[in-house]
C-alpha cells in the first residue's frame, strides 16, 4: 500500500514532481560543480603561478660572489665554480620530478659583437631533448619563462643560431636573418627576443655555443628550476637535519620548496639549491587568498542551492494539502503520512541528485577545460556526500510543510480552504 501510494503519486503528478526534481537537479548540479571547482582551484592556480618563472636556483657549492648590477654580470668568466651539464637529467630521477615544470641551465659569457663590447651572451636550453633512463623529456626556458617572446624563430638547441635581445638588436641595427660575428665565428640571428628584463640587452644562445666560447664543455653557471610546490608552513621551515625518522620522511615527501631544494642538492653533486624567495614566498599568499575566496563563494552557492531545493519541496507540498486532508479523513496517522512524503522526497532527492551530480561533474569539467586548459575531475567520494546533503535538504524543506499540512484540520483542507 505504502509503495503503491508513492508510485502512484509519481505516476499521476508528473508536473509537480518534474518541477521539484528540476530544482533538485539544478541545486545539486551547482553544488557539485562549485565544490569541485573550489577544491581543485588551488592546484590549478598553483600551476598558473608557475608563469612567474623559476622558484628555485641551483648554484655550485663553492661559488664566488655574484657581481650582478641591474642584471649585468661583472664577474670574470674564469671566476668561480661550475655545475656539470651531464648531471642535469638526474633531476628527472627525483622523488618529486613530476612537480618539476621545467628547468633551464644558464652560462653567461662576455663577448664582443661587431661594434659593441662587453655584451653578455647567455647560453641556455630553449627546449632541449633530454633523456633519463628510458624517459625522454624536453625542457628549457620556453617551459619556465612563458613571458619570453620571440619575433622570428626559436633557435635549435644543437644549432649555432642565436637570439638577440630587442634593445641590443636595435642598438646594433641587426634584425632576424642577419649574421653576426661573435669572437671569430659567424652566427645566424634567427629571432629577436623580448622579455622586458635584462635579456633584452643580451644575446641568448644554445648552451653549447656559450660553452665553446668559454672553452669549458659541460659547464653550467646556474640552474633555474620551476616546481609546483605546497605553500610553506612551520613544518616546512624546520631544518631537515633536526628531523628524525618518520618526521623526516614526511618532510621529504611533501612538495615544500625546501624539500625540493634538498632533493635537487641530492641529485646534483656539489650543488647548493635555494628558493627564489620573490617567487616562492608569494605563491602561498596569493594561493591562500584565491582558495579562501572560492571556498566562501562555494559556501554561498551551497546555501543558495539548499534554499532553492527546500523552497521547491515546500512549494510542492503546500499544493497537496487536500491529499493530506483526505488521508487524515480516511484515518491515516501523522507518522504514516509523513513517512509517505519523506519517502517521496528521498526518491526525488536520490534521482534528481544523481542526475544533478552528473551534470555538475560535466559543468566542472567544462569550466576546467575552458578556463584552465586542464580537467577538473570530480571525486567519486563526493557522490554519497552530495546525495546525503540533497536528501537532508529536501527533508528539511518538506518537514515544515508536512507538519503544517498534518496539523491542518482535514475538513478545511478537503473543502479547499487554506
Amino acid at each position: 500500500m505504502f509503495l503503491r501510494l508513492v508510485y502512484e503519486s509519481f505516476r499521476r503528478q508528473k508536473r509537480r514532481k518534474l518541477l521539484a526534481g528540476a530544482a533538485i537537479i539544478l541545486g545539486v548540479g551547482v553544488a557539485t560543480a562549485m565544490i569541485a571547482v573550489a577544491t581543485d582551484i588551488g592546484d590549478k592556480v598553483n600551476r598558473e603561478l608557475r608563469t612567474f618563472g623559476a622558484n628555485l636556483v641551483v648554484t655550485p657549492q663553492e661559488d664566488t660572489l655574484d657581481l650582478q648590477i641591474a642584471g649585468v654580470d661583472l664577474k670574470a668568466p674564469s671566476d668561480g665554480a661550475y655545475l656539470d651539464e651531464g648531471d642535469l637529467p638526474k633531476i628527472h630521477g627525483m622523488y618529486w620530478h613530476n612537480n618539476i615544470v621545467g628547468f633551464a641551465p644558464v652560462l653567461p659569457v662576455v663577448v664582443n659583437v661587431g661594434g659593441a663590447t662587453n655584451v653578455t651572451l647567455l647560453g641556455t636550453y630553449f627546449s632541449k631533448d633530454l633523456s633519463f633512463g628510458r624517459e625522454e623529456f624536453q625542457t628549457g626556458v620556453r617551459a619556465i619563462y612563458p613571458w619570453w617572446k620571440v619575433s622570428g624563430a626559436w633557435p635549435g638547441d644543437d644549432s649555432q643560431d642565436v637570439l638577440l635581445g630587442e634593445r641590443l638588436a636595435a642598438g646594433l641595427g641587426r634584425k632576424t636573418g642577419d649574421e653576426i660575428d661573435i669572437g671569430s665565428q659567424a652566427h645566424r640571428v634567427v629571432g629577436v627576443l623580448s622579455t622586458g628584463g635584462v635579456e633584452d640587452d643580451q644575446i641568448v644562445a644554445p648552451l653549447a655555443v656559450a660553452q665553446s666560447i668559454l672553452g669549458r664543455p659541460g659547464a653550467v653557471r646556474r640552474l633555474y628550476v620551476s616546481a609546483v610546490t605546497k605553500p610553506e608552513d612551520a613544518f616546512a621551515r624546520r631544518d631537515p637535519k633536526s628531523l628524525r625518522g618518520p618526521e623526516f620522511d614526511r618532510w621529504y615527501c611533501s612538495p615544500y620548496v625546501q624539500s625540493i631544494a634538498y632533493q635537487l642538492q641530492e641529485s646534483i653533486p656539489h650543488s647548493h639549491a635555494e628558493q627564489i624567495r620573490q617567487v616562492a614566498q608569494n605563491e602561498g599568499t596569493v594561493l591562500a587568498r584565491i582558495k579562501g575566496l572560492m571556498l566562501l563563494i562555494a559556501l554561498a552557492a551551497l546555501l543558495a542551492a539548499a534554499l532553492a531545493v527546500s523552497a521547491a519541496m515546500a512549494t510542492a507540498l503546500f499544493e497537496r494539502r487536500g491529499e493530506v486532508g483526505l488521508m487524515r479523513a480516511l484515518g491515516a496517522g501523522s507518522v504514516s503520512i509523513a513517512a509517505i512524503f519523506f519517502a517521496e522526497a528521498l526518491l526525488l532527492a536520490v534521482l534528481g541528485g544523481s542526475v544533478g551530480f552528473a551534470g555538475g561533474a560535466m559543468l566542472a569539467r567544462m569550466v576546467g577545460r575552458s578556463i584552465f586548459d586542464s580537467q577538473i575531475t570530480v571525486d567519486v567520494v563526493l557522490f554519497p556526500i552530495v546525495i546525503a546533503i540533497a536528501v537532508l535538504v529536501s527533508f528539511a524543506g518538506s518537514a515544515l510543510a508536512i507538519r503544517r499540512a498534518v496539523q491542518f484540520d482535514p475538513v478545511y483542507a478537503l473543502r479547499g480552504e487554506a
Binding site: A23, E48, G53, Q68, R277, A304
Partner: protein, 362 residues
Amino acid sequence: MFLRMLVRAAVLRRGRAAAALLAMMVAAAVTTAMLNLYVDVQAKLHNEFRNYGANVIVLAKNGQSLPGHALQTIDSVLGGNGVAVPFAYVVARTVDGQPVVVSGTDLDQVRKLDRWWSVTAWPIREEDALVGTRAAALVAPQGQAFDLSFHGRTVRLNPVGTVRTGSSEDSRIYLSLSEFENWTGVKPSTVEIAAAGSAEEVDATVQRLAQALPEAEIRPVRQIMEGEARVLGKTHRTLLVCVLLIILTAALCVLSTLMGWVFDRRRDFAIMKALGASERLIGGFFVTEAAVLGAVGAVVGFGIGVAIAAWIGRVNFHAPVVPRFAVLPEVLAGSIAVALVASILPVTLLRLVQPATILRGE
C-alpha cells in the same frame, strides 16, 4: 481599493507572504554579495600581487646616474599609489681585494617593497649594513665589523643583519643611501617601483613616468605583469562562472517560491473573477503584488548582501569590500523581473481555468 487589497493580502497571509519575501531577500542578498565581490575582487587581488615587488623599473641610460629630482618626480607621478625605492650600486673591494657589490638604498622603503626578503635584523644606525647571506660568509663570517674600499676611500661597516632572497641580493651589501653617497659619491641609478592598480593603470603610470623623466628608461617588469594578468584573468573567469551559477540558483529559488505563493491563492483569483473583476485587474493585482514583494526583498537583501561581501572581504583579504551602490539598480531590476515572471506564469495558467472549478476545490 486596489491598494487596500494589496495591503490586506500581505497582512492577512503573513506566513506565506513572509516566506516569499524571505526567499526574495536571501536571493537578492546572495546576488548583491556576489556582484560586489566580483567587482571588487580584482582590486583586492592586485593588492596581493604587489607583494611580488616592483612591476616597473626606472633605469638611468648608459650606466649614468639618475638626475637628483628623479625620485621626487616619480613620487609625484605615483601620487601615493605605489612605493618607489632608489638603488645605487658600486663594486667595492674587501680587505683581501675581493670584489663585492654594495648598494645604497632607502631600507625602510625596501622593507615595504620587497616583503619576501628574509632579514634577521634591519639596520637602524647610519654605519649599520645589511649583508647578503653569501656576502656575509666572505666579509664578516663572525659578524664582526668590516672594511670596504672604493676608489681609495675606506669605510667601516657594522653588519647588524643578513638578508636571504635566493637571488643576486644574497651576494650584496646594503647601506643607507646617505651613508653610501658620503662614502662613494655615487647617486642612484635605478628606482624600483611597485605601482598599484590594474594592468591598464600600471600602463598609464608607465606612460606618465616616461613623459616626466625623458632622460631615463622606464621598463615594466613583464615577468610580474604577465604572471599577474594570467592568474587574475583565470581567477576572474572562474569567479564569473560561479557568480552566474549562484545567481541562477537564487533566481530559481525565488521563482519556485513565488509561483507556489500565487498558485496557492487561486481561490482569491477565482472569487475575484466570480465577483466580476476583469482579468486585467486581477492580473494587475497579482503582478503588482509580486513586483512590490520583489522590490522590498531586493532593497533589504541588498543591505544584507553588502554586509556579507564586507565580511568576506574582511575574512579573506583583511580589507572590507567597499559597497557598490551601482549594483543596486541591477539587483532591483533583476528581482522585480524574476518576481514578474514568477507571477505572470501562474496567472496565465489560472486564466484558462473556470472559476467554478477552482472554487469547488479541484
